[in-house]
């Protein structure tokens, strides 16, 4: 490697077209590589993402908007939608708290057994949804350990809403934490240390230094967590009891419809569920847009101050 200083090169490359080309070669890819990569990525996504989505949308709207609307506007469907939204409203905030706390503890501090803790946080992904359901049946079922006590006190956990919330909280636990940990690790802790050295307290440092830095990771985490909480199926199927209009979440309701050979209705509710999950993406784009706008305005005021 050469030992030319960065400033030297940038001065030179403005003058020297050959160096400028070399500079571009070194910081970005040639056009043909760029488009090859884009094509490969899009082909992959097309096969795995777009086509399945098209199947769902095709199934949902095959028989027209009226049929789609009729499938959604049905008491059992509404009950399922309400239940799924209730679950999200409870589970996502809890996971935000947990995710931020865990990432702060893990990424900004050194301690023994860190890989074990991280692996434990990953575990809910690795446990089959079926086993998750089984675990809670073993704990709370009437043949289970806590079941008789719960029954004596007339507390319903499984085959009722609390059980559904618990299994979904279990399954979505890692999302936000795992989104934030690598990001915060990659960012290091210099900025926080600087802020603290300058006299800010821990909360202030978190609020003004860390949070802006991890904003995107947090938003991605929430998107994933929200989507997964809406879509969770296997574990809920075990603990829900499938009472129509009461303990069927949207995915379970979809399964019910599919098993009733009401394919159009099943795909209609699926398309709605997909839409709900993608709402968070719209929010993300909106935040992005706000962010860009505020950055532009500060840049302008900054320039004004300099001149």
């Amino acid at each position: 490697m050469t030992t030319t200083t960065a400033s030297g090169v940038s001065q030179q490359h403005e003058a020297n077209p050959e160096l400028s080309a070399r500079w571009r070669r070194a910081t970005e890819e040639p056009v043909w590589i760029r488009w090859t990569l884009i094509t490969i990525a899009l082909t992959f996504l097309g096969l795995f993402l777009v086509l399945p989505l098209l199947v769902v949308l095709y199934g949902a709207f095959e028989q027209g908007l009226g049929v789609w609307f009729a499938a959604i506007n049905e008491p059992d469907a509404w009950a399922a939608i309400r239940l799924s939204l209730l679950v999200v409203v409870i589970v996502v905030p809890i996971n935000v708290l947990f995710g931020v706390a865990a990432a702060w503890a893990i990424a900004k501090h050194e301690f023994r057994g860190k890989p074990i803790l991280i692996s434990l946080i990953d575990m809910p992904f690795a446990i089959s949804p079926v086993v998750v359901g089984l675990i809670f049946v073993i704990l709370f079922g009437s043949q289970g350990w806590l079941g008789p006590w719960l029954a004596a006190h007339d507390i319903r956990i499984i085959f009722a809403v609390p059980g559904i919330i618990i299994v979904i909280a279990f399954g979505t636990m890692p999302f936000i934490a795992r989104e934030l940990i690598p990001l915060m690790q990659q960012q290091g802790k210099e900025e926080e240390e600087a802020s603290l050295t300058l006299g800010a307290n821990g909360w202030k440092t978190f609020w003004y230094v860390t949070l802006p830095n991890i904003k995107w990771g947090l938003i991605y985490g929430i998107i994933l967590c929200n989507a997964r909480a809406l879509g969770e199926f296997g574990a809920v199927a075990v603990v829900s009891g499938r009472i129509r209009g009461e303990t069927n979440t949207m995915p379970l309701h979809i399964e019910v419809l599919y098993n009733e050979y009401m394919f159009t209705a099943a795909f209609a509710v699926s398309s709605l569920l997909t839409g709900l999950a993608l709402v968070t993406i719209a929010i993300k784009s909106f935040v992005e847009w706000l962010d860009e706008r505020s950055r532009e305005s500060t840049a302008i005021s900054h320039e004004g101050a300099v001149s």
Binding site: T27, P52, V55, L117, S128, V131, I135, I138, S285
Partner: protein, 275 residues
Amino acid sequence: MSVAKKRRVIPGFGLTMGFTLFYLSFIFLIPVGGLLLYTSMMSWEDFWRAVSHPQVVASYKLSFGAALIGATINLVFGALVAWVLVRYRFPGKKLIDALVDLPFALPTAVAGIALVTLYASSGWVGQYLQIAGIKVAYTQLGVVVALTYIGLPFVVRTVQPVLEDLEAEREEASASLGASRFTTIRRVILPSLLPALMTGYALAFARAVGEYGSVVFISGNMPYRTEITPLLIVAKAEQFDYHGAAAIGTVMLLAAFALLLLINGLQWWTSRRGV
């Protein structure tokens, strides 16, 4: 700077660690501990008989093997997708970005139905693959397809924020030092992405091992050939054999934990060496 000094500088360790451990215990450790305790109530012979039956062993091979292949596909293509989404401009980028999370949003059963509609020999894609002599639905390849699908967002979404955050200065510095683009990617970008890549890989793998809903539609569920382990657990539970189900569940749990520990340990070790 010593490790001990760093720890003293940044506050909140007690609070955040406390809450992390509390929540982890409440929602995770106690239930999982319950499962392990439940399994431990079996006699060793019963346990061994339940988990070592040839049919069960065949299902381990399929579940773990297909999950590894699926996660590896996701590692390569996920990184590529994240790169393309962050670095390049092309029409429809926003939409594609939004779609990446789809595999989480669609209930797994719907995903399974959609995939089998596509890849069955009469399906949209399957009929063309059929001509090429490739059968996807109701084969082990079908399992790989389903597991790739459900793990897809992990690598993309863990790599994406890190890539967005990567300062251009470091690449420019590398370039100005005369490094070629390839060298810059290999020596500067890849090491920064490594933790995120490994995390995404671990998560995609972990999720794939336990997947049930989407696979059962596309795999054909033939014992010894295309039957995944979670399906066997369901079958045991339906026959009221909770102990057998819990035993196989425990094996899966321990194996997944060991693999996650390996990957996370490896990552922790490389990141420490890198500093």
